[in-house]
Assembly symmetry: C2
Homo-oligomer: 89 residues x 2
Amino acid sequence: MTGATSPSVVEVRVEYKPGVLDPEASSIEKSLGLLGIPEVSHVGTARIYRLEFSGVSQVEAERLAARAVDRLLANPVIHRVTITASPPP
Amino acid sequence: MTGATSPSVVEVRVEYKPGVLDPEASSIEKSLGLLGIPEVSHVGTARIYRLEFSGVSQVEAERLAARAVDRLLANPVIHRVTITASPPP
């Protein structure tokens, strides 16, 4: 790796497992109805974390991203996690 | 449209414009360093809203999603918004 290489990028998507209460989504559903958009029948939310790594390969970046998920970014009891390597900018 | 059609789905991605302070991302960057993952050089966050519409076409769903963004989901001063029609499940 040289300093000139572009960073390895990994996107982590964290959403609730089916059946877990998502109060923000419920609030949005209700608000959209009140705002005159009642055609929305269901809302789900997710959080994206875009991690840029410097000085490591893409493979290593994915391994480190999985560790970041385990240590900090998600709770396996309630969250479903999707890791995407090299997402579009 | 009949009741048997599957819902039209639109995903809205809301992230901060470049230069807007993202305190959650800064906190994650710092925490990952403390947790032994200092290879992360930059973190960005985004919010995904998955909107399911019933009884409207995909084109109409996209139009309504854009209205939901304007009325509720994003602040054009600080947010950049990407709307994706028919995202993967």
